[in-house]
């Protein structure tokens, strides 16, 4: 009934907007009040008009009805119901005849004919409008989804670290309505690897934006501070003032010592890490408030040591909280059991996903993003053959303007055997030139006695170029993105394109500082082009 009434109101609005009320010269005292008259869904007039089968003289209506009173007050004498497929979709309202005579039977027949032809046309117009509105809404939702997915995927790592003696694997599958899962790795000095995984408690574009900001702050803080508890505490203090109400971020951050297998972590309300050992699986526990809820939080640290052959598993809520067709929850005990029984190493991801799908059945609609990270200590020692990362060049150039081109030529010569197509070689040239120029001009301040060090590494799936200078200290904070419009208006200097070019030329950039040494690491994927790597 409510839907029908809504259509009736819609019809009135449409009629008025479409100008179907013909404005004839009518004496002021007989002019109809054209403001809409609402009929409540339980008003008896509704059924009466629908079943009348022709024009209704309001003077003949005997029952009490608010709608009829309002129509009379608006000067309406005769209503002609517009009925399509048995539903009342509108009324033609007429005041008294100008001649002050009653409406004749001819008048009524004419009006009835008019109504019978107008009603289906009006109904079609209403349906078209409804469909247009629905299509616009669907397109809006689809567009928002595309934006959220784009943000999300741009901030997931494009390549995984490949430390000697470890197998690192990740699985991420967004839900239809993209959630706010994220994960990343931070390569730290002294053979350590920072790992974080998190989840923003919301979906869509707002969650994706909070995710992107939190990830950036986490990465920067992890490069500055050693202790995971302090990292989370600082990130919380930076995120908390700006995060929207009712949104927060659960996050686990840990530092893995690749040599000893020791994993020290702190936890802001995220799922506990799980360790698969030869004799089963166990959870390691550290607790703390999610990021963004309250300022000034401390995060306790816990640690676990992985022996060769053992596997660390980090995961987001979607896995333990998945439901079976009977609405049972997958749960932590089942997860621990599967980690205990399943294979060690990256194959564990396939094992867990197969078990999840067996549990949920085929018709399962994934409710949230799924993230699974596996770090497996393979047992191969760092000096065991074959090394997965080999250094293919190492050289220095003096800090003189123009020497960036010397560095470029040496890097290009070193990578000539690697699978890089012409366009990617050109991009590498520009990125190496800009990174070396920055090192010469800003890091070493054009002092020719200071050297810029360049190292080139090949990994199975990526090329790494490290450019180091002596401009140590903390990594620089975010720099203002160059905006050509602002530059042309004189609001920004014409310069400042270096870092922008670097970031757009390669697949990933890491900036680290260690003592007085400042290093920019350029990462370019091999055996792939732009088709495989979304830019």
């Amino acid at each position: 009934m409510a839907g029908r009434l809504e259509r009736w109101r819609e019809a009135r609005r449409a009629r008025r907007q479409a100008g179907t009320v013909v404005d004839m010269p009518v004496p002021a005292e007989t002019r109809l009040d054209a403001s809409p008259v609402d009929i409540s869904p339980d008003d008896p007039a509704l059924v009466h008009f629908q079943n009348a089968g022709g024009p209704v003289d309001l003077d003949d209506v005997a029952f009490d009805s608010e709608a009829v009173r309002n129509l009379r007050a608006a000067g309406v004498k005769l209503v002609v119901p517009l009925v399509a497929q048995g539903e009342l979709i509108g009324l033609i309202n007429l005041g008294p005849r100008l001649s002050e005579q009653e409406y004749t039977s001819d008048d009524r027949r004419l009006l009835e004919n008019l109504a019978s032809q107008a009603a289906p046309a009006l109904r079609i117009a209403q349906l078209v409008r409804e469909q247009e509105a629905e299509a616009t809404e669907r397109e809006r939702i689809a567009q928002e989804l595309r934006v959220a997915t784009l943000i999300q995927q741009n901030f997931l790592p494009r390549r995984l670290p490949e430390p000697a003696g470890w197998d690192v694997a990740a699985y991420y599958k967004p839900a239809r309505e993209v959630g706010g899962d994220f994960y990343d790795f931070v390569e730290l000095p002294d053979g350590r690897l920072g790992v974080f995984t998190g989840d923003v408690t919301d979906k869509g574009v707002p969650a994706a934006l909070v995710m992107a900001a939190t990830r950036a702050i986490l990465r920067a803080t992890a490069q500055r501070l050693d202790k995971p508890g302090e990292v989370l505490s600082q990130v919380n203090d930076q995120v908390q003032p700006d995060i929207p109400a009712r949104m927060f971020v659960t996050c686990l951050y840990g530092v893995l010592d690749l040599e000893s297998g020791r994993f020290v972590f702190a936890n802001a309300g995220h799922n506990l890490p799980c360790v698969g050992r030869p004799d089963g699986a166990s959870e390691a526990r550290a607790t703390g408030m999610p990021l963004g809820m309250l300022p000034g939080q401390d995060y306790e640290e816990a640690e676990v040591t992985l022996a060769p052959g053992e596997t660390l598993v980090l995961y987001s809520d979607a896995l333990p909280e998945a439901h079976s067709p009977q609405r049972d929850m997958y749960g932590f005990p089942r997860l621990l059991g599967q980690v205990g029984r399943g294979p060690r190493g990256p194959q564990l991801i396939d094992h867990l996903l197969a078990d999840l799908h067996a549990f949920t059945g085929e018709a399962w609609e994934q409710e949230d993003d799924i993230t699974l990270l596996v770090l497996h200590r393979s047992g191969a020692t760092p000096d065991a053959p074959p090394p997965r990362r080999r250094r293919i060049a190492e050289f220095t150039v003096a800090s003189r303007p123009g020497n960036e081109q010397v560095a470029v030529e040496r890097v290009i010569a070193a990578v000539s055997d690697l699978p890089l197509d012409g366009a990617r070689v050109e991009r590498l040239r520009t990125a190496v030139a800009e990174a070396t120029m920055n090192a010469i001009e800003h890091g070493n301040e054009n002092n020719p006695e200071l050297l810029v060090e360049v190292e080139v590494y090949a990994e199975p799936s990526a090329l790494l170029v490290r450019v180091s200078d002596h401009g140590g200290g903390a990594p620089p904070g975010p720099v203002e993105a160059p905006d050509i419009a602002a530059k042309l208006r004189g609001e920004q200097t014409p310069r400042g394109w270096g870092l922008f070019l670097i970031r757009n030329m390669v697949d990933d950039v890491h900036v680290t500082a260690d003592g007085d040494r400042h290093t920019v690491e350029l990462v370019m994927a091999l055996q792939g082009g732009d088709d495989e790597l979304p830019r």
């Binding site: 070689v425 800009e434 120029m437 050509i484 530059k487 042309l488 014409p494 070019l501």
Partner: protein, 124 residues
């Protein structure tokens, strides 16, 4: 490294600034002098000819921004020709192409594995 030279001539109503060598920070004096020559007669349009430029870095981009600022002040159109596919890509991501027109029918470069301007234009 190729030192930078630039010279100016007119082609009908268009002032042409032809460059050779590396467009980097060391190019500024020669570039700006040739630019002033090129626009001295108040041309409506300035064509930057990059056909003999093999290297442009961020300082070179900054110099082009400086020329664009001047062109906008003087209500002068700007075009660029002879860029390789790589530098056309850089002109696009820096959004220089919002303010100057890339001439793909001019000199075609074949010095890299990527498609040449003419091939790209032919394949849409």
């Amino acid at each position: 490294m190729m030192s930078f030279h630039a010279d100016a001539h007119t082609d009908g109503a268009t002032a042409v600034l032809r460059m050779r060598g590396d467009l980097d920070a060391t190019a500024d004096v020669a570039l700006l002098a040739a630019h002033d020559d090129a626009v001295a007669e108040g041309a409506d349009e300035l064509l930057l000819d990059f056909a003999d430029v093999d290297y442009i870095n961020s300082s070179g981009i900054a110099l082009i921004v400086t020329l664009l600022t001047d062109a906008r002040r003087a209500h002068r159109r700007m075009r660029a020709s002879g860029l390789s596919a790589h530098y056309r890509h850089i002109f696009e991501i820096t959004r220089l192409t919002d303010y100057l027109v890339l001439d793909v029918d001019g000199t075609v470069r074949t010095d890299e594995g990527a498609p040449t301007a003419r091939e790209e234009a032919a394949h849409g």
